[in-house]
Each structure stands twice: as C-alpha cells, then as structure tokens.
C-alpha cells in the first residue's frame, strides 16, 4: 500500500511535521527560556540585594618612605598585610540593616564601624579609628626626657636619631529614634585621644633649643538633637557640648634658658552650645531658613606658675567667651525666570574673660603713652562682631542666557585693646563685594559662564600707636584697605556621549592701599582642564591639568637703626608660588573577567621669594637676596589588575611607584644650640607591590 500512495513533496511532509516539531521546540525553548528567566531573576535579585565583601592581602614596600608614610601606616620598608571588610545585611521584611565596615584593619590607619538600623525607625552605631601621623623629619638630638613633660637640654649628651609620631585613637557612638509625626531624636558621642610627641622649641636671641611637645590629650564631643520635619516646616535643635583635656599642661625644661620654663601647654577647656535651626517652604518655590545658637566657652585651668606680679592671687585665667549666632536666608522664585536669594548672618564673639594685671609694668593713663616696653601686663580679651548680608538675583534671558548679580556687605567689629598693641589696629572693617555673572547654555553640548567680581575693603581709622611709630606705617593683611578684582571663566563641553571636557580659569588681583609697609599687591591665576573619554564600552580614559600661580608682593623695613623712624633699609619680597600638576588615567576591561587600570600623576610646587632692597638710607651688612627658590616635585604611578575568579571572588594585584624630590632648605646648615640637627630627605622613591583576594556574597 505504501507503494500505491501518491508520493508527497518534502515540503508537504515538513509542513505536516511542523506542528509536532513546534510542540517539541516550544517545549524545549520554554524550558530553556524558563531557565534563562530564572537565571535573570536570580541576577536581578542579586543586583538588588546588599552585598558584603572582604579583601585580604599583603604587600611589600621598599624605598624612602618618610613622606609617603605620613598617614597611611606604611612608613617602613617592610611587608604589610591588608584587611578590609564590608559586611552588609538587610532584613527585607523589616528594613533592618546590619553593617560592619572595617578599613585598613591590618594597618596603623585602621577604621571600624558597626551600624544597626531599622530604616525609618531607629538606629545606633559604634566606631573606632586609629591614625598615626609619622613625622617625616629625621632628628638627631641629645634631648632627654622625650615622651614626658620634663625635658633636659644637654649639648654634652650623646645624640641619637629619633622620629616623632602622633597617634590618634577615636571612639564614636550614637543612636537615633524616629518618633511618630515627623519627630526624631539623636544622641552622639565622640572621643579622640591624642598621644605622642611633635616638634617644638624654645628660644631667645642667641640660643635656640630643640624641644618636643609631649601629647596626652583627650577631646570629647557630645550632642543631643531633636528634629521635626513635615513638607512645609522643618526644625532641628538641641545641645552640643565639647571638652578638651590636656593631661600634660606644662612643659618643664632644664639645662637651658631657665627664664622660659615652664612653658604653658594648651589649657583644658570646654564649650556648651544650644542651637535651633529651621526651614519653611511657602508657595511653590519659596523657602526661608534660619539658625540661632548661643555658645559659652570657658577655660579655668590652673596656672602652671603663679602670676609674676606680686599681689596677684589669681590661680586661673577665668576665660569665658560667649558666642551668639543668628543666620537667616530667603529664596524666592517670583516668576519662572527670576530667582532671588538674600541672607543675613550675625556673629558676636563676646570675650568676657576676666582681666587683671599679671606682670609688673606701669599701666598707661589716658594721657601717657604705653610703657617703654609697650607692655602693661594686663591680659586682653578679644571680642569680635561680624555682620554679613547678601542679595542675589538670577534672571533667565532669551537664547539660553542666564544673568546673575549679587551684592555682599560684611562688617567686622573688634574691641580696641588700649593697653598693648604690636600691630596696626582698626576697630572696624567693611567689605563690599559685587558680582555679575553671565551663563549660557551655548548648545546641548556646551555650557559656559563668565563672572566678574569686584570687592572693596575699608574701615575705621587706624588706632594711633604713640609708643611705636613704626606700627603706624603698616597695612596689616587682615584688615588693610584692599581692592580685589576677579574674573572667572568656566566651560563644560560634552561633544558626544563619550566625551566630556571641563575648563576653569580664575584670575584675580588684590591691591592694598594706604600705608607703605605690609602687603602691596596680590595676584592669583588658576587654569584647569579635565577631560574624560569613554573609548569603548570597555575602556575609559581621563586626563587633567592644573596650573596655579599666586603672587604676594609686600614690603617691610630692616631696623638697622634701631628704635628710630629714619628710612633704614626698606625691602620688598615678591613671593611667587607656582603649582603645576597633571594626571592621566586609563581603566578598562580587556576580558569579561579582567579589569585593569593605571594612573600617572605629577605635581611641581615652587616658591620664589624675590627679595630686593627698594629704598632707605641705612647700611645692611648682609645680602638680602640670598634665599633660594624652594621646589617640590612628586610623580606617582599606580597600576592595578583585578581578575574575577568567578562571580563572587577575584584576585587583585597593585603596583605603585612614588617619587618625591624637594630642596627644602628650612633645616639646611642649621644646628640648634644643643647640637640637634634636623633633616628632610631630598629624594624619596617608593615602590609598593601588593596582591589581595576578595570575596563577595549576599
């Protein structure tokens, strides 16, 4: 029968087979698709689930490590371990987080923090940190008693090399609780213990002694905060307290300059502040915020020695400064094109410290000048009031232009110490600043802005110093009459999705007017460019360049003819600091499992002093332009490769080359009176090679 059957075409047979095959194919495909879907689901879940990670590794450091190891705990040419952990767990049902973050746990700059939080309900945390600052200076000294508050200077003592270090041990803790209705309370505490020694000194003309400042100090800060927030009104306020405890309040020095011992170390002190801040939204785009605070800082540490003036029975200074702050700002958008902002800030630091005569000196009367030494022996509280206000408007013009204009006024008021001055003093300074800026969205890919800032500082008349006429010729930097012009240009260019270029340029000129000594002129120039380029999906490149130049031009006078007001030798310093820095980075993923990156950066700082005599009639025996240019260069190259062993783990290798050069002459050819010498290595080249293993889990 089969032979009788009319033969059918292959296509027909295929068609007849199709439904069956389709069913089979569908079943297979569905199974495959379901499997793929399950994997995709798992991946999506992974992506949305907090991830924990641990990194364990080791590395070797070699070379001159003093500057390199300033803070990173690697200041010796030895092997180092590395351990970082980030343990994060979240209970999805309750939104409860558990986080344990540890960084550099095997090193001297380790940090550990534990947080437990039910998001939107309560949270608490504890943390600790250890940080060592290794002073890069190499010191050869015979000073005895380092590490204590009793030092003995001895030129005869055998000298040895020492390296100073300061250690910080911090502890933090805090908790917060959300209460119904938008209320929240927070409590925090932080303690920082500082110990070790740092460079110090003691001197009188002809004798300079190297000393160390022993540190055994504790800083504590605590805060109780209550906050409220709803869509219209937000408030936050509370109490903040802090204390500083110095367990070594004096430094006793034996063996030299007996008149300068003991030296009073920073005294223990404390401060308490109550504060309230708030914000209110009105209309669609109006907002106002404020802050009010009142602080009381006191210092009543027992004097390290009795007052020099017989009859003064004070045992502590009775220091007390009350600071009041009031701040408010208002932001409005009256039309879609206009933005307005105004803010006002008032700060009053009222120094209410007790005053008394502590040392023997005649007190000037209303008609007599200061004493011949210019000293009265009476302590001088320093009060300061600052009032600053600003108005700013921004208007959106046609064609994408935006115009911004602002006016700022600042007034600083100081109390006038009639008893003792060593600088030209003025009671009040006023500074007015006007700023105009035009910004434009030049195209969808280019934005730019140009700003011009002009400011003028003046103030009340200088207080005339009847004792020292030279004081009346100085224009002190901090309150001199000053005119400042500044121009700022910025541009962001994103030619295409893969490119971005950012440019910024600042140029400023300060002119100091009035008196003939002190700062005369200042100049600043900053040019910087950042470029980022996404070469492909796998490779990214970046580069940056910064050039910064600052000039301070100032004059003073060498007092060859001591005590007279003759011309003497007037000299000028044109202090020019230049920083040039650039960097280049590349990061990519040549294969799915391998990620690599490299960074090369370099910076150069120079300081020129430009000292020259510009006038006067006196004869100066020394060459006034003998100060060499200071230069500091640093080049750093970093390379890493991270290879994923699987989805959870990987290996990482790091290589770093760090090269520093300087000609810091600060300590060159200088020997302390007891023979102590200090040096900074001129060249420091460091190589670090490290490898680590990391594992991630959810």
């Amino acid at each position: 029968m089969l032979m009788m059957t009319k033969p059918r075409s292959s296509a027909h047979r295929s068609f007849r087979m199709l439904p069956v095959a389709l069913a089979v194919g569908l079943a297979c495909n569905y199974a495959i698709a379901q499997d793929a879907e399950q994997r995709a689901d798992a991946l999506r879940k992974d992506l949305a689930t907090p991830e924990s990670r641990i990194d364990v590794g080791a590395g070797v450091l070699s070379g001159g490590t003093r500057s390199f190891g300033l803070y990173n705990g690697m200041n010796q040419s030895i092997g180092y371990g590395s351990l970082d952990i980030s343990l994060i767990k979240r209970e999805e049902e309750t939104g409860t987080w558990f986080r344990l973050n540890g960084r550099n746990l095997a090193r001297d700059n380790r940090e550990l923090r534990l947080e437990h939080e039910r998001q939107g309900d309560w949270a608490y945390y504890v943390g600790s940190r250890h940080l060592t600052r290794n002073d890069p200076l190499q010191i050869n000294t015979g000073l005895k008693g380092i590490g204590t508050d009793s030092l003995t200077v001895s030129a005869a003592a055998p000298r040895r090399n020492i390296q100073l270090a300061v250690e910080h041990d911090s502890f933090t803790a805090g908790l917060k609780k959300f209460i119904v209705g938008g209320f929240e309370v927070r409590l925090s505490f932080k303690q920082d213990e500082k110990s070790g020694d740092r460079l110090y000194g003691q001197g009188t003309p002809g004798t300079m002694n190297f000393l160390t400042e022993p540190l055994d100090r504790v800083t504590r800060q605590w805060e109780l905060i209550a906050a409220y927030a709803d869509p219209k009104l937000q408030l936050i306020g509370g109490y903040s307290g802090s204390s500083f405890e110095n367990k070594l309040p004096s430094i006793n020095v034996a063996g030299s300059i007996a008149t300068l011992s003991p030296i009073a170390a920073p005294p223990s002190n404390q401060a308490h502040q109550f504060h309230l801040a708030g914000g209110y939204n009105f209309g669609d785009s109006g907002r106002s915020s404020f802050k009010l605070s009142r602080s009381v800082a006191t210092q009543n540490s027992v004097f390290v020695v009795p007052p020099a003036l017989p009859g003064n029975r004070e045992t502590s200074p009775g220091g007390r400064v009350v600071t009041t702050l009031a701040y408010g700002d208002l932001s409005l958008r009256p039309t879609a094109r206009l933005d307005l902002n105004a803010h006002l800030r008032f700060e009053d630091r009222d120094d209410q410290s007790k005053t008394a005569q502590y040392t023997a000196a005649a007190i000037p009367t209303a008609t007599t000048a200061l004493t011949t030494a210019g000293l009265t022996g009476i302590n001088v509280p320093r009060s300061l009031k600052q009032l600053k206000g600003q108005l700013e408007a921004g208007y959106q013009l046609e064609d994408g232009y935006r115009l911004i204009g602002s006016l700022e006024q600042e007034q600083v008021q100081r109390n006038i110490p009639v008893q003792y001055r060593r600088v030209a003093y003025r009671e009040r300074t006023d500074e007015t600043q006007a700023r105009v800026e035009i910004k434009r969205m030049l195209s969808e890919t280019l934005n730019g802005g140009l700003a011009y800032i002009h400011s003028w500082r003046g103030g009340s008349d200088y207080v005339n110093d009847t004792y020292n006429q030279q004081t009346n010729q100085v224009n002190p930097l901090i309150w001199a009459n000053r005119r400042r012009e500044k121009l700022r240009l910025s541009a962001d260019w994103i030619p295409e999705e893969s490119w971005s270029v950012q440019f910024r340029g600042d140029a400023s000129v300060d002119s100091y007017l009035g008196r003939n000594l002190g700062p005369r002129r200042g100049e600043g120039l900053l040019l910087s460019t950042d470029v980022a380029y996404q070469y492909s999906e796998k490779w990214k490149l970046s580069a940056w360049l910064v050039q910064e130049r600052n000039l301070a031009d100032q004059t003073t006078r060498s007092d060859v003819l001591a005590g007279t007001l003759g011309d003497n030798v007037i000299w000028r310093a044109r202090l020019r600091n230049t920083t040039s820095a650039w960097g280049f980075g590349i990061k990519g993923r040549p294969t799915g499992a391998l990620e690599v990156g490299a960074e090369l950066g370099a910076s150069a700082d120079t300081a020129e002093h430009g000292i020259q005599r510009i006038g006067g009639t006196g004869t100066d025996p020394l060459n006034p332009s003998s100060l060499p240019t200071y230069a500091y260069h640093q080049v750093t190259f970093k390379l890493f490769a991270d290879y994923a062993l699987d989805r959870s783990s990987g290996l990482r290798a790091d290589l770093m080359l760090d090269r520093r050069r300087n000609n810091d002459w600060t300590w060159q050819n200088f020997t302390y009176s007891d023979g102590t010498t200090v040096t900074i290595p001129e060249r420091q080249n460091v190589v670090f090679i490290g490898a680590s293993y990391h594992y991630r889990w959810r």
Partner: protein, 337 residues
C-alpha cells in the same frame, strides 16, 4: 562493521525514507525554534514585567532590568535595591515615578527615538537643575539640607545628581573612600593641594571634604559644617580654642588667615613661610623686619639676616595660638612660654 550502518537489515528505500524523515524533523525543528522562541520570548516579556523591587515598578523594570539589554547595563538601575532608597520595608522610600514622573510618552515610544522620561537626571537632565532638585528635596529637606536653597551650590545650579548617584550601590557622595575624588572633579585646584608635603590625611581617606564642609550649605562661611571656620577646626584642634590669657587676634578671628587646610609646602599648613607671613601684619621694629636669609647665628639682632631657618619666628614664639602663662611679660605675653 554494524556501526557503519545505523539500521542493519533495512532496505535502501527504508533508509531513504528514514533519512527524509530525519530531514523533515530537522527542518521543522529549525523552523519551530525561532517560532517557539518568539512565543517563549513573549512569555519572557510577561514574566519580566513582574515587579522586581516594589509594587508598580514593572512599568520601568520591564526594560530597565539590567540583564536583558546591553545598553541598559551601562546605566544600571537595579543596584538601587541595595541602597536605602531600595529598602521596600521603609514606606517613605520612593517609587520610580515619584522621582522620574509618570513618563507616559517615554513608555509609549513613538517614532524611532524614545522620548526621555518626564524627569531625566544626569547629563540629559533639564537645563534648570532646581526643577530636578525638587524631586529630591520633597523628601530630604531639613536636617543637613536645611540651608540648601540659599547655599552656594544651589545658587550656582549644581543639581543633586551632579554629585549623587542614586541608583549606584555605592553613592560616591556619601562613600568616604570615593567622595574626595568626586569633589575635586570640580574643585580641581584642590587635587594638587591635597598631595602637598604638609597636609591633612585626605589622600588616605582618613579625613575627607565632608568632614569640614557641608556641600548642602550651612550657617557658616564656606559651607563649613560648624558655624565658623574656627569652630570647624576646633572639632579636631580643640587645643587652640582657649580662651587664652594672652590671645593672638588673627588666631581668634579666623584660622584660615594663616593656614591653608588643603595642603601646603610649608610646615604647619601655613599659607606662607615665616617670617613673610608674620611680616604681613607686624611692624618692623627691632628684629621683626629683618631680611630672611639662611643664617645660623640665631642672633636676631636688629638689621641682621636670618629668621627663616628651622621654625623661623616660632623658634622663640612657640605658643602663637595663644598662651596661658602668667609669668614675666617679656616671655609670656609674646607667646614664648
């Protein structure tokens, strides 16, 4: 040799028919797989359209699911699930549309190019950042952002998304090890300063920009975290708070008059080497106007050269931040003991 003949005993005709049958099945399967694949893909679409993180997010995550589209992987959205914003149990956390808007035109693609969402962020964001920032401020106003509206960053049109990466598992702006790199991408001059020989431990990440500055604005100058520059410095350097018996006015006014906290080539983070720094304010009487020079005599007699070596002026005036020694005036009031 049977392995050479898969059907031993079958006739040539039978073998031909078997071969045909095999070919038909093969062809049918070849046709069926794409078809079945299409059907299965349709099933996939239905299953992808499940909510992933929270109720209602399927309208977005059916496309933005980070796994089905290579392009999307460049802008992953699901890692938001690892963050506080993705903590579903917290009823305050937003949905996609709460931040991005309903975005109906984006959902219904018309033409070849898909319109942007109603409120895109990042490079494609609206030209007026304040519009986008509103989406964030709707929840985050108050607390550390209390003074945002009047802050310099807000007034200079910095968008929240200019710093924050809301969808990233680790937001650069709130991760201590990443925040410095983010800040210096705009504040470029700081990049070189933080590597200078005298500096704070910023490069190491032990101290970062947001320890001193609140980028969201504050009641203090320069967006300091405390009410003034000095109050901010005192949080670590409380040693210099005093109040001292003998005060140095410049120190009381503003630490940054003498120090550059971002880094310096001069020891102590000074803005300028002494004696130049001191000579900017002090009158030149006695030794104070001397020429700076490399001189080891330590005499400091009027008109001599020197004052520059070692700690320069601070060789003698060791307690420049203020002193509390009530001893003899010559040494105490001039910060020498």
């Amino acid at each position: 040799m049977s392995y050479l003949n898969p059907l031993p005993g079958a006739s040539a005709l039978q073998r031909t028919r078997l071969a045909q049958l095999f070919c038909h099945w093969f062809l049918a399967l070849l046709l069926a797989f794409p078809l079945a694949g299409t059907v299965a893909a349709g099933e996939n679409k239905k299953s992808v359209a499940k909510d992933i993180l929270r109720v209602g997010d399927a309208r977005c995550t059916r496309c933005h699911n980070d796994v089905s589209d290579d392009e999307i992987e460049n802008y992953p959205v699901l890692p938001i699930g690892r963050t506080k914003h993705g903590t579903v149990a917290d009823s305050r956390t937003p949905t996609c549309v709460a931040c991005h808007g309903e975005s109906e035109s984006h959902l219904k693609q018309i033409g070849t190019e898909r319109p942007l969402p109603e409120r895109p962020f990042g490079k494609k964001a609206a030209s007026d950042p304040k519009v986008n920032n509103k989406a964030c401020m709707a929840c985050h106003e108050g607390d550390k952002l209390m003074h945002w509206a009047g802050s310099l960053h807000s007034r200079r049109d910095v968008p929240c998304s200019g710093c924050h990466q809301i969808h990233a598992a680790q937001d650069k702006a709130t991760t201590r090890t990443l925040v410095v790199a983010m800040c210096i991408s705009c504040h470029t001059e700081k990049r070189a300063q933080i590597s200078r020989p005298y500096r704070h431990p910023v490069v190491e990440g032990s101290m970062v920009c947001i320890d001193c500055h609140n980028p969201h604005g504050s009641a203090g100058p320069k967006m300091m975290v405390k009410d003034s520059v000095n109050e901010t410095c005192y949080t670590c350097h409380m040693d210099y708070r005093g109040p001292f018996l003998w005060s140095h006015p410049a120190v009381r006014q503003d630490c940054s008059l003498c120090h550059n906290p971002h880094g310096s080539t001069v020891s102590g983070l000074l803005k300028m080497r002494a004696p130049f720094l001191c000579q900017q304010c002090h009158e030149p009487a006695n030794h104070r106007g001397n020429f700076p020079g490399l001189d080891n005599t330590k005499s400091y007699t009027p008109g001599a050269s020197g004052l520059t070596q070692a700690r320069a002026c601070m060789n003698c005036h060791t307690n420049l931040h203020g002193g509390s020694n009530p001893g003899p005036a010559n040494s105490s009031t001039r910060f020498r003991r």
